[in-house]
């Protein structure tokens, strides 16, 4: 089974899997395990199928490595070589750590998409269960038409998958733990590392420059956490620090952002005032703050850092979206410039001014442009928070009062016999309203839904949609003008027949068995 061309990157002996000793192989594209003494792999996973790896905590007696697959299954390996177990495990872990991300991107996107579609759409999921799981049609056939449809739909609704932004508190999430002997331990996940890289490109650059030529990954991050850069509020102790350059770059970035200025003139504090007071006038002239204490300096460094951090996090989230929006604003600016009357006003300014003076409720006409709500699970939406309503509670006194009131009214109630209906009219009205009566004919048709229990109803519904889906496949083959389509028609026909035999028949029989007496109309429906 092992392909000859595969290069084996790592071999670890004495690895147990399901209480069986064996050997673990890490190859270029997959990880595999074979029991001792046998020449085949009982476990083999492509790297692309692996979602993540987990390792047992350091103190544990069993040294294990667990692979979690995209399907949700997991495989656990137990490193049993007493003397080198930890080393073996770490070697495997490190290698996997390098390999997995490479394959992560390649991971079957379609599979993910299919999975997502099924999760998001319960109807489709049911259909999938009815047709594919029960082997009426094959999965490929099921998806063949679906995916195209969905990909079109997807590209219409949102061009691509939305980028997930970065949590502003990602650095805070790295809680240092004391390791008991005067040291600190930081837990880094690949997500956090990604966040750091995305937010601080300078660090990423440093990483690329230094790892693994000068430093190991571990050393790199150790230095990162020790650095002045990470603890920005600390005043630089002057130690040689590879991150001091990052800090400088950040400073430069911040400055260039400031120099660039703001696009929105309404928030430009520099041109806020029509500054007419000359130097020397005014009552509260604050002198230049040349004399700042160390504490104040560190405080303002913290403030600067927060501003910068937030700006970077924001930018990291927007980087992809930025390009097209810039273009849009450029084109609009060229348009705007052609207006001769206010050509000296930049268009953004004009728009912002218009916005600022607008009172939407004073004006007739279309309200603000809203974005249509695109609901995937409409029931969740409609069962969401209910608007608060002020309930009118009646006090017990109210109730007593009204009871008294009613009693009083009843006590003086006198039937008005002259206005009572004759008995013949009353009985004819009752007949008309009874089942089968004149007025109840419409009612019997609704009765189907009341007479049949809901599970049968839903089964019927499922069958109906499934049949519809199959027929759609069937009819989509016409006109039959290629041999491929011809083949498909034949296949679909057999599919339909199979569907009838495996699904419809049993259902029909079941109905007949249970509801023979009640209604024939159902059968008609089913046989349709």
């Amino acid at each position: 089974m092992a392909a000859l061309s595969e290069e084996v990157l790592l071999v670890v002996k004495r690895v147990r899997q399901r209480k069986q000793d064996g050997t673990l192989y890490l190859m270029t594209e997959r990880i595999a395990w074979g029991p001792e003494g046998k020449d085949r792999f009982t476990v083999s996973h492509l790297y692309a199928d692996i979602r993540c790896q987990k390792i047992s905590p350091d103190g544990k007696s069993k040294i294990q490595l667990q692979l979690v697959l995209h399907t949700g299954e997991s495989t656990t390996f137990h490193f049993a070589n007493e003397s080198t177990a930890l080393k073996d495990r770490d070697a495997a872990k490190d290698l996997l750590q390098q390999l997995l991300p490479k394959f992560k991107k390649k991971a079957n996107k379609q599979l993910e998409e299919k999975n997502k579609m099924l999760q998001e759409d319960p109807v489709l999921f049911q259909l999938y269960k009815d047709l594919v799981v029960s082997q009426v049609i094959s999965a490929e056939e099921f998806w063949a038409s679906r995916l195209k449809l969905s990909s079109v739909e997807h590209s219409l609704s949102n061009n691509s998958k939305q980028e997930v932004g970065i949590s502003a508190a990602f650095l805070a999430d790295i809680r240092p733990q004391t390791d008991g002997c005067n040291g600190l331990k930081y837990n880094l996940t690949s997500d956090i590392i990604e966040s750091i890289f995305k937010t601080y490109p300078a660090v990423k650059q440093k990483y690329a420059e230094n790892v693994p030529h000068n430093l190991t990954e571990k050393e790199f991050w150790t230095r990162f956490f020790q650095s002045h850069y990470f603890h920005r509020d600390r005043i630089n102790t002057g130690q040689q620090d590879i991150f001091s350059e990052c800090a400088k770059q950040d400073e430069k970035g911040l400055k260039s952002m400031v120099v660039q200025g703001v696009k929105n003139p309404m928030v430009d504090l520099l041109s806020l005032e029509d500054k007419t007071l000359d130097e020397g006038y005014g009552s509260l002239t604050v002198g230049p703050n040349s004399s700042k204490t160390v504490k104040e300096n560190s405080n303002s460094a913290i403030i600067k850092r927060f501003n910068h951090h937030s700006a970077m996090v924001l930018a990291a989230g927007l980087r992809k979206v930025d390009a097209p929006s810039d273009q849009a604003s450029e084109t609009s600016s060229t348009d705007g410039n052609s207006r001769d009357s206010d050509f000296f006003q930049p268009p953004i300014k004009k728009v912002k001014l218009q916005e600022a003076i607008e009172y939407e409720d004073l004006q007739n006409g279309s309200g603000p442009k809203t974005i249509a709500l695109n609901l995937k699970k409409s029931d969740r939406y409609s069962h969401g928070p209910v608007p608060l309503q002020s309930h009118h509670y009646s006090t017990s006194q109210d109730i007593i009062n009204s009871v008294n009131c009613i009693q009083e009214e009843i006590s003086c109630y006198k039937p008005c016999l002259t206005r009572v209906m004759p008995s013949s009219a009353a009985s004819s009205a009752i007949t008309a309203l009874s089942p089968g009566g004149l007025l109840m004919q419409a009612g019997t048709q609704q009765a189907v839904s009341q007479l049949v229990p809901t599970d049968v109803q839903s089964e019927l519904k499922h069958l109906y949609t499934a049949a519809g889906e199959l027929l759609r496949h069937f009819w989509s083959c016409f006109p039959v003008n290629t041999p491929f389509l011809e083949e498909k028609v034949v296949k679909m026909r057999s599919n339909l027949e199979r569907f009838q035999s495996t699904k419809l028949r049993p259902f029909q029989e079941k109905i007949q068995r249970e509801y023979l007496s009640t209604n024939v109309r159902l059968l008609l429906l089913v046989n349709l």
Partner: protein, 682 residues
Amino acid sequence: MKLNIEGLLVYFPYDYIYPEQYSYMLELKRTLDAKGHGVLEMPSGTGKTISLLSLIVAYQKAYPLEVTKLIYCSRTVPEIEKVVEELRKLMEFYTKETGEKNNFLALALSSRKNLCIHPEILHANIVVYSYHYLLDPKIADLVSKELAKKSVVVFDEAHNIDNVCIDSMSVNITRRTLDRCQTNVDTLQNTIQRIKETDAAKLREEYRRLVEGLKEANVARETDIYLSNPVLPDEVLQEAIPGSIRTAEHFVGFLKRFLEYLKARLRIHHVVQESSPQFLKDIYEKVCIDRKPLRFCAERLRSLLRTLEIADIADFSPITLISHFATLVSTYSKGFTIIIEPFEDKTPTIANPVLHFSCMDPSIAIKPVFERFQSVVITSGTLSPLDIYPRILDFRPVTMASFTMTLARTCLCPLIVGRGNDQVAMSSKFETREDFAVIRNYGNLLLEMSAIVPDGIVAFFTSYVYMENIVASWYEQGILENIQRNKLIFIETPDAAETSMALEKYQEACENGRGAILLSVARGKVSEGIDFVHHFGRAVIMFGVPYVYTQSRILKARLEYLRDQFQIRENDFLTFDAMRHAAQCVGRAIRGKTDYGLMIFADKRYARADKRGKLPRWIQEHISDGSLNLTIDETVQLSKHFLRQMAQPFRREDQLGLSLLTLEQLQSEEMLEKISQIAQQA
């Protein structure tokens, strides 16, 4: 729509109107009819500007002889631009409705780079510019002095007008100023020497003119053509320039002597505070400079600079500053104080002497405006208590009114948080502001709010130093980290460019749904000039009561003056000042009735009647007795409830007839009766 405001046809460029806008126009018209001044407080975001413009333009069209010009003053450049935009809208509406071509000339002056051409200002029907063009004597003299008497002057966003007045009349002199003055004087001397050799006639001509005196100016003022200038007192106009400074050389010599005297005064080791008369006495005793030539100093320098045909006046700003100081100190024996400080309070070891010549009486700068123009309207969203403005600006208004905001749903939610969940009182007062528990509770409040308020939150601190300390403390306690889990954090810095960037990023973060918090400072640029409408500010948190820094000698002198001259107690004024800034901060979040926002006052002192009572009526009336001394938990509960209610759809039908009117609804008797109750006369 076309409105009938007590017989005046007003074109209003919208299909609907807020009841308070109608009420506002009514009061405004009465002010104009009476040819008097007015103080009008109208909630922010109720369309004050368009109501003002609509009414006054209509008035001008109806009575072109009664009101010839509207002078609209606002504070910041964006505000001025907004006014122009609204005016444009109004004019377009006029053209559409009447079919006539618009013959109204409006002129906006904003920032010196597009400073206007002087004659145009005389012909414009409407002039829109910054306060300074009218209140700062140096600029008013250039730009505004010939504006017609029959103008209506509007000061919008006028809650800080007293400070603008004071700023425009106060002078600070440092060593650097004096050194640069020395250079100026040297340049003047050289130029005079040169001209004397080439064109002596020019100087003789100037001398002749000065003998004639400033009669021309006097004639103009007496015939009421000019706006008077506080730096050009009446006495100066009636007399000729004293002989001692009439020739150019003598005047330069005089300036030199004056400079030497000032330099000597700055060589001190302890703080000196004195009145104008004391200063004059001292200068006479030391260097024999009389009061009279000092008084002519500003005018004499102006004349000299003109005669010498100096192109770049900006180079001579230091000597101009000194000349203004000379004239002011010799003209006003009251309303100013001189404080000479040898060093900054924070750094007693570094000598940095400053002479503060502080104006303590805002009425001096604004007096000419009230005297000259027939109607001056002071308006803003926050002018409470109304009666204090006529007192400190020394004028008698014919109308004083505060308007409420009619609301179909209560879209503002003021809450006073007095305690943390641990029951420790929250306050920024001096004794407890460094208290660990207070800082932590403030942090918890922000943290809790960041978890429940959507989009943007703006928090204001009482001062920059206080904010720095709290931010550092929150950072150490890990509170900021936790806040970051909910929202991005942006912080105002003393650098305007940096803050602008932070602001833009803040808006971006609100816009894209991430949500953000802006930490900012009351009295800072953000609190005075930036609106946080809709999702840019769903909650404003005011940490503490923003009292002004009371240790400053200048402030102490001003407080004393207020007490002696206007019988305003120090505490009353300080509280008034703090509350107007607090109201400004929280008012930033509400613009219009479709907007909504929480206003959280995080200091137990807000619950006291003397504080609360100084908030604008439209905020005050929504503070219930139950929301006076809340804990953080209670605040969170009330806020959640409020936000949930506000998140429900709000349609025009909900408002119509209550807080939004059609023309027909406006005309009903019942509605007019209701409207008459909106304005509360002070």
